[in-house]
Symmetry: C2
Subunit: 252 residues, 2 copies
């Protein structure tokens, strides 16, 4: 009986609020990329929105262990609520992803991995990553990109700063000003002639100037949404195979 | 210690997925209407997204009791997870709101009431309500509007149908076609010269044609978001008053 299911049973677990509007944008992307005809075909999920978690970029820079501990505790709650996998629509939080993965029983759908994989599938040999100060300076994407044979291209301090401003403006609701800062970051990145530019912060796809939605951009929000949909549908198919299992007649 | 908090402790509880993109639009509205400068000032919430809940409009028409029972069970789970209030960004589900309210210990932030109250504050003496077939035909808003002295204006079967099409198209991701159906509903409603038109379905604000965002429209999604923000901030102020309480020195 569905009413007796635990809170998050078999659902996707999402840890959101980093930031809140970026989480809403992720959920919109999740709904739109599902391309379904009716309400009932969408991905079911439990979302814990925790805007109180302090700034992730500063925590990476200062080594403040409270922040990954808070994220980890909330992921554990999603797991304990019965969720079958967890996802975090915040790139910077993935700085501690190996620690989270090591102590969770359920899979973390890793935004950095699935985004790097998309870059590889598009044939990129090198890439610029735009994100928070710490995502760029602490090279969040480097290992994942190199694992696919993709060379990360370093950006200037000006691009780190304009991208930081784009993110801070988006978080404070100044979407138009944010778009302009992002446009500067994109133009300066393109001057380096990368095969691919990765939007490695969930605030950025939300403020992407319409004219710049080009083939050289990979949006980590869309990559995570696609991976979540894939996880859910694989799980559904598995459940359906189990239901349809017809055993050999061994008693003939 | 925040890590020991129960799952939804003191948070807003949201029952979503009816439909999924409308829920994302509600969360975007919640974030934008909060008008805050940093991540940490947003409303924290636990969201259970249950797209599997069957069509609410059909359930009202056929009297299928399973649907309100499913909604009720999920609201109870949000309550049991520690949420301090619950909200449902789906107007049609409010058909059973008095049953939900009667059996919950925490308040249900009632979308129909807060939307009718907004119409009253704007000085409306009469109103057209656009929503699902059952929201219009079963007069979901009538009692709340009349409670504020506002006379509901009946719409034609054509408007019921075009609005139904707008909602179904939005649910299937055809936002442009949906907008056109809604534009027809709005034009036909305006021909009745209402003081106010209420967008009484969470799919509709999402597809509102830009040119029709006029002063005669009240958007139930925005009204619910504002009421949720108000609930959260009142709660914060109450907590702050408790913390700052200075007792009389009775032992002098």
């Amino acid at each position: 009986m569905i009413m007796d299911d635990p809170f998050g049973q078999d659902r996707l677990g999402i840890l959101g609020g980093m930031g809140s509007e970026a989480t809403a944008h992720f959920l919109r992307t999740l709904a739109q990329r599902s391309s379904v005809a009716a309400d009932q075909e969408h991905v079911p999920f439990a979302l814990l929105s925790c805007p109180e978690i302090p700034d992730r970029s500063s925590a990476v820079e200062t080594g403040d262990a409270r922040v990954p501990a808070m994220i980890h505790a909330r992921l554990r709650q999603l797991e304990q609520a019965g969720c079958g996998a967890v996802a975090i629509p915040c790139n910077t939080a993935h700085y501690w992803r190996h620690d989270f993965t090591a102590s969770l029983q359920v899979p973390l759908i890793d935004m950095v991995s699935v985004t790097a994989e998309r870059a590889a599938r598009l044939g990129a040999r090198n890439a610029v990553v735009l994100g928070t100060r710490s995502t760029i300076r602490y090279r969040l994407y480097d290992a994942a990109l190199k694992g696919f044979g993709i060379q990360p291209i370093e950006v200037s301090d000006e691009v780190v700063h304009s991208t930081h401003c784009a993110i801070a403006l988006a978080k404070s609701g100044n979407l138009d000003s944010s778009s302009k800062q992002l446009a500067y970051s994109l133009a300066a990145s393109r001057a380096l002639h990368p095969d691919i530019i990765i939007l490695g912060c969930t605030e950025l796809p939300m403020v992407l100037p319409a004219a710049t939605k080009d083939a050289d951009l990979i949006d980590s929000t869309t990559c995570l949404a696609d991976a979540c949909i894939h996880w859910w549908r694989s799980r559904l198919e598995l459940a359906s195979e189990r239901t349809n299992l017809t055993c050999l007649q061994l008693d003939r």
